[in-house]
Symmetry: C2
Subunit: 370 residues, 2 copies
């Protein structure tokens, strides 16, 4: 039913809204991958349920679950969350789901990027990823909306952040990594983003978060909370490799203006210090497979408070049971005074390589502007 | 999201509409079971596509396809048919899908019968059937409608025909078969049907079609085409075991009135004569499994023209490339003069043990009556 469009969103007047704009609902994928989630994903499922239930207090939630886990998901998630069958390779719907687009006439469309598990057979994190690569299409088919696709362009939703008004922020570490689009120049990638997100300006940070296995997705280091306003993961610890990475991002953003010529307001969001590391217990319980390097006790995690989700009237914020949690809540509450800040201890999600933003994908409300 | 209701449709004022009432859409399941469909279901998929495309000219069609066959279904079915992922054990959505119910206030609900593959481990046609037994629920979850379920009551959608005005026709051969509800008396089954279909009268035919492996589903021997009006599969050949079976049905219906006190108009729908049998070629290409007795050349098939589907403004009629096809079309056109009669050579579907009515499930249009 879903048509594949040969034009571009830019030509057709469709744009990707900021996450802070109103949502129709949020999509998630039920976790079950036993080589990434310890003890057959039972501990992370508990946290997943918490995240889904908290979001569902602000807006509808749809959870995609495989045939084998459908019943478990359905019973675990309770009566307020819709569960539909969909197979996947893992739960990272931020990266595998559609990038929804709206126009001003009340229409919804989406972009379906090519997905290769963050780097393909050579650099990627798992294989195969063919089920993941079908998720955006399947969701569009369910929603009966048409989609744009560039076959030769690999991108994950977590590697871009937009303000909905013409500006997009990315990291070079990720988008120029040779595991994705080695056949394209930086300029060509820049142009693809402009055409398919319908933006005028791409800001290329150098880095994301230290040791982030996505090759430093932008959504782990910063978050647009309003046009021309971001929170940025930060540390004052100059001995931490993250210091330079965050500092360069701060300096670049301070020196740039957005597509509308506005300066950025940058709010520092302090990272856990010392960094979060894997405990002995957390390192156990994963199936062993060829591609995966098992986590060891003491491994540093790419924990960041920037990996939250903005929902209608709220923020679902990952915390780690450390002293910086409180500062993160205060920072967010200050910059989003009308949002309810809901915290979830998300160490289990972090163990799999991401956080709350990575496991959610908002579907914007259709808008009609006269 | 779907709530399981503890009441009954009768108490709540919900009824199952006649198939001849207006539809919202029709649901189907993509075939792939290699032990029931020759050559990995490729020949039957061709016919399935024809059926789906013909229906889609009258009303929307949604096809449920497994993860493995999703891409094939999507590409094969073209742009006018919606494809969603759903696992199943086979394609018989008439029997495994929800029985949709409407009230007079524009609401939709459904009954989810217990399904045991036409008789369970001892008498059934395959195992396991756990995916099939989840289909009704999954569809309700997708449609966001609440459902009624009686756990201990086994029933298939093809074993009932309703007029939407208080009358239901079934066969004793099926509903009293010990593979389904041996713990229930005929009276108790009668009462369950009355409560869950919201009807006042159940007419219990003795038989269906000779050698029908569903234990003689009613939907293979007759079809309600309007209140108090049925077509009945018929033969004048007294040497055919079917003669007595159809004659007893005719006599019973002639002697009974429907729930509103009306006499039945019974239109004879002549069966192929000689009966359709399996060809040598048709007997080849199925995987061998424990439960299945492979078809042999010359096996008689339960071919019947009554196994059609009424859609909005049309009839999708199975034909078998025999001389009686023409008579069937003429009969149907005469009794449904305002419907377009579309014929499809459905020998491939027949080989699997059913026909067009068995592989479709209509979702009624919501109605508001003042």
């Amino acid at each position: 039913m879903t048509k594949r469009l040969v034009s571009t969103p830019k030509k057709d007047g469709f744009r990707m809204p900021g996450e802070f704009e109103k949502h129709e609902k949020t999509w998630m994928i039920w976790p079950e991958k036993a080589d990434n989630w310890r003890y057959c994903a039972k501990p992370v499922q508990k946290v997943f349920i918490q995240v889904a239930k908290e979001i569902s207090k602000f807006e509808p939630v749809v959870v995609c679950a495989s045939s084998l886990q459908y019943q478990n998901a359905l019973k675990s998630l309770g009566n307020n969350i819709q569960v539909i069958e969909m197979s996947s390779d893992d739960m990272w719907i931020r990266d595998t789901g559609p990038a929804f687009l709206v126009d001003d006439k009340g229409n919804l469309r989406a972009v379906d990027w090519e997905f290769n598990a963050w780097g393909g057979l050579e650099y990627g994190l798992y294989s195969s990823w063919d089920k993941d690569n079908q998720i955006a299409k399947k969701i569009c088919e369910l929603e009966n909306i048409d989609l744009y696709k560039i076959d030769d362009f690999v991108l994950e939703g977590g590697s871009i952040h937009v303000d909905g008004e013409g500006t997009c922020i990315v990291t070079q570490a990720c988008l120029l990594h040779k595991g994705r689009n080695p056949h394209l120049s930086k300029n060509e990638i820049d142009q693809n983003l402009k055409n398919f997100l319908n933006v005028e300006k791409i800001i290329w940070l150098e880095n994301g978060i230290y040791l982030d296995e996505t090759d430093e997705h932008v959504d782990n280091i910063l978050h647009f909370i309003a046009p021309a306003t971001v929170v940025l993961a930060w540390t004052d610890d100059k001995n931490d490799p993250q210091y330079e990475m965050s500092k360069k991002a701060f300096d670049l953003l301070s020196s740039q203006k957005d597509s509308k010529g506005r300066e950025f307001k940058i709010h520092k969001l302090y990272l856990p210090n010392p960094p979060i590391t894997v405990t002995e217990e957390e390192a156990m319980g994963c199936d062993l497979v060829k591609e995966e390097i098992p986590k060891k006790k003491g491994d540093r995690q790419a924990a960041s408070y920037a990996n939250f989700l903005i929902v209608n009237g709220g923020v679902i914020l990952p915390i780690f049971n450390v002293k910086e949690d409180k500062i993160a809540v205060e920072t967010l509450q200050k910059v989003l005074p009308n949002h309810k800040i809901v915290t979830i201890n998300s160490r289990e999600i972090l163990l799999g390589g991401g956080n709350i933003h990575c496991i959610t994908q908002q579907q914007p409300l259709k808008v009609t502007k006269k």
